[in-house]
Amino acid sequence: MEEKLNLSKVKERIEQIEDVLSSVAAGDLETRLAINTEDDLTGIEEAINILIDDLTYELKQSKNMQTELQEKLNKIQEQQKTIVQQQEDLMELSSPVTKVWDNILILPVIGTLDSQRTQVMMENLLQKIVDTGCTMAILDITGVPTVDTQVANHLLKTTTSARLLGADCIISGISPAIAQTIVHLGIDLSAIRTKATLQDAMIYAMKQNKKTKDISIKDTLETYEETEE
């Protein structure tokens, strides 16, 4: 049964609609239009109520999605942190310098050499040379897959700075493939002492060791004999 629309009542109801809409816009999603009568305006009022319902649902969903995304982001950031940490660890681990014999240090290099890694490697090697007082250092590049101009340059730099400290640097583990690429690229490694295998380098270093030792022992013996006389 449709009621006759009365102007003042219509005005009142439109005001009510306005009130509800403004409170929804302000963020209050709980308010709904009260529908008491059934007339021309009821359809609009119902439509508005459904609209608010839909809006509430969508908002809830987007909020859920947001928290989900945030969680994922946090997870990714944590993973990123772990990756950086592991990279640093790897950097430290990848250039171990060990003393293998009297006066001989070995630095086995495994994996691709980039400038950052060579920098760390070079610093480690030089520091170790100073700390241990070893004058022979063997750089073993058996584990380096490829040698390009940049890597060769890094190797040259390392040996030159070791020489400046007063230590000899031998590069070992030059495989046939690496020898071929080096020559094809036109890299001049004549300033560096190179050996095919780590064994050759060790033998060379120990021979060199013996030479210096013999001389110093001979010298001390001579001076000792002189003082005896």
Binding site: L126, I129, V130, G133, T135, T160, R163, L164, L165, G166
Partner: protein, 128 residues
């Protein structure tokens, strides 16, 4: 100006060798002064070898690096061998990055090894 005179780097003569231990930060003027000082000392004492200890130097710029390698070649013309001892790793890296690889300059890890090196060098000269 008198400060430079006060801060002379001592040159000590032991046997046939001169020992120069740089204990202060080098500045350009001091470096030039040291260069002529060492050459004069070689002339005066007839020393056969010079040991330059730079273990305290934490910073070597291109000028000082050039001065050191220049000094080695000047001394070798005067028949004295120069050995630079005790270079720090950071200094070595800096010099190499600057392209100052000091060819022809002998280096040693410490004073003792430097002395051994000079002795070897001089005994081989005597044998010739």
């Amino acid at each position: 100006m008198n400060n430079y005179q006060d801060k002379r780097i001592p040159i000590i003569k032991i046997g046939h060798y001169l020992i120069v231990s740089i204990q202060v930060d080098m500045h350009d003027k001091l470096a030039i002064q040291l260069q002529s000082q060492i050459l004069e000392a070689i002339e005066k004492t007839g020393a056969k070898g010079v040991l330059i200890d730079i273990s305290v130097l934490e910073m070597v710029d291109s000028f000082i690096g050039r001065m050191l390698s220049g000094m080695a070649s000047m001394a070798s013309i005067m028949d004295a061998a120069v050995v630079i001892v005790g270079m720090q790793p950071a200094v070595a890296i800096t010099l190499v990055e600057l392209g100052l690889e000091m060819p022809g300059v002998d280096t040693a890890l410490n004073m003792e090894r430097g002395m051994e090196m000079l002795e070897k060098r001089i005994s081989s000269f005597d044998n010739e």
